[in-house]
């Protein structure tokens, strides 16, 4: 089972890449852009067939290593083979 992790900076933590790209987009003429935030995506392949169990495992991985809760928030979702989100 492939599990996708998305990690973003917590609100209030500086996101200079986001600020820079927001500025660039607005200067390009996309003046309705109000904000841009960068995050990171990590794919973890787990030898576990049940989506719920796989997500719970990766959730623990996030809490213990993949994300730093002082500065980051994260979401975890198991993927089908076809790359779609698994049904809850």
């Amino acid at each position: 089972m492939r599990v996708r992790v998305d990690i973003v900076r917590r609100p209030g933590i500086a996101d200079p890449e986001g600020a820079t790209v927001r500025r660039a987009l607005r200067e390009m003429g996309f003046d309705t852009v109000t904000d841009v935030h960068f995050g990171r995506t990590i794919f973890v392949d787990v030898d576990e067939g049940d989506a719920g169990k796989a997500e719970a495992l990766v959730q623990e991985m996030c809490e213990r290593l993949l994300a730093n809760p002082v500065i980051e928030d994260f979401t975890v979702s198991a993927l089908h083979e076809a790359g779609e989100e698994a049904a809850p």
Partner: protein
């Protein structure tokens, strides 16, 4: 007294730390991150550098090195533990100090002299100094910007960035650190992290000997626990 100076893959300041401790008359030994025997160590230093290439997040992988089991145990026993720069980052990731270090406010790698003021003279970082002392130390980091725990966990502030006369303010904060924090300790006061490099300011030829006060504080803490 003997100090263990831990070397992770990517650490690059360990020899400077050993030399600096030697300059102030203290024995030190390099310990590879896979060693688990710190039985001869009265205290531990985590030096600067780029442990594990700063992969994932700076300091994030180093806390899982085998040596850290012993380091955690010694810290829990009240032994002095000093993290310098990358070492400070590792201590935060390991949960031995609160908060985290992120990219400098202006997104520049800062390599220059800074001044720090002693805020609390009763810690592993400062007991050889006095409150209000101003130290001139070199700063050499990209992720030196201190962010506190969201719950506001109490870490005692040991050093704040300041002007040459001890002035605190945004103009004297090189990297945007919260509350101009340049060094903090845990509640027990035995674990300390400092962003600038005291080991690079121990001999006149280096441009400052103010770093001796930090290392002497650490050594004085060894003697407190040992004695």
């Amino acid at each position: 007294m003997s100090v263990a100076v831990v070397v992770f893959p990517g650490t690059n300041c360990e020899h400077d730390v050993v030399r600096a401790l030697d300059v102030i008359g203290t024995d030190a030994e390099l310990v590879w991150h896979r060693d688990t025997d710190l039985s001869g160590a009265d205290g531990v230093v985590l030096p600067g550098g780029f442990a594990h290439g700063d992969y994932l997040r700076t300091g994030a992988i180093a806390r899982f090195s085998p040596v850290m089991v012993e380091v955690n145990r010694l810290a829990g026993e009240g032994r002095p533990l000093l993290g310098i720069c990358n070492g400070f980052q590792i201590l935060c990731e390991a949960g031995l100090l609160p908060g985290a270090l992120i990219a400098n406010r202006d997104l520049r790698f800062i390599c220059r002299w800074t001044h720090v003021r002693v805020e609390d003279a009763f810690t592993v970082l400062t007991r050889a100094a006095e409150e209000g002392d101003v130290l001139r130390l070199p700063l050499n980091s990209y992720e030196g910007n201190y962010v506190p725990d969201p719950e506001g966990a109490a870490g005692q502030v040991a050093f704040r960035y300041c002007g040459p006369g001890g002035e605190i303010g945004e103009a004297h904060n090189p990297n945007g650190s919260h509350d101009a924090i340049a060094g903090i300790v845990n509640e027990a006061g035995n674990v300390g992290g400092v962003m600038p490099h005291p080991e690079r300011a121990v001999e006149d030829v280096l441009g400052s000997t103010d770093g001796r006060l930090v290392l002497e504080s650490f050594v004085a803490s060894l003697e407190l626990v040992h004695g």
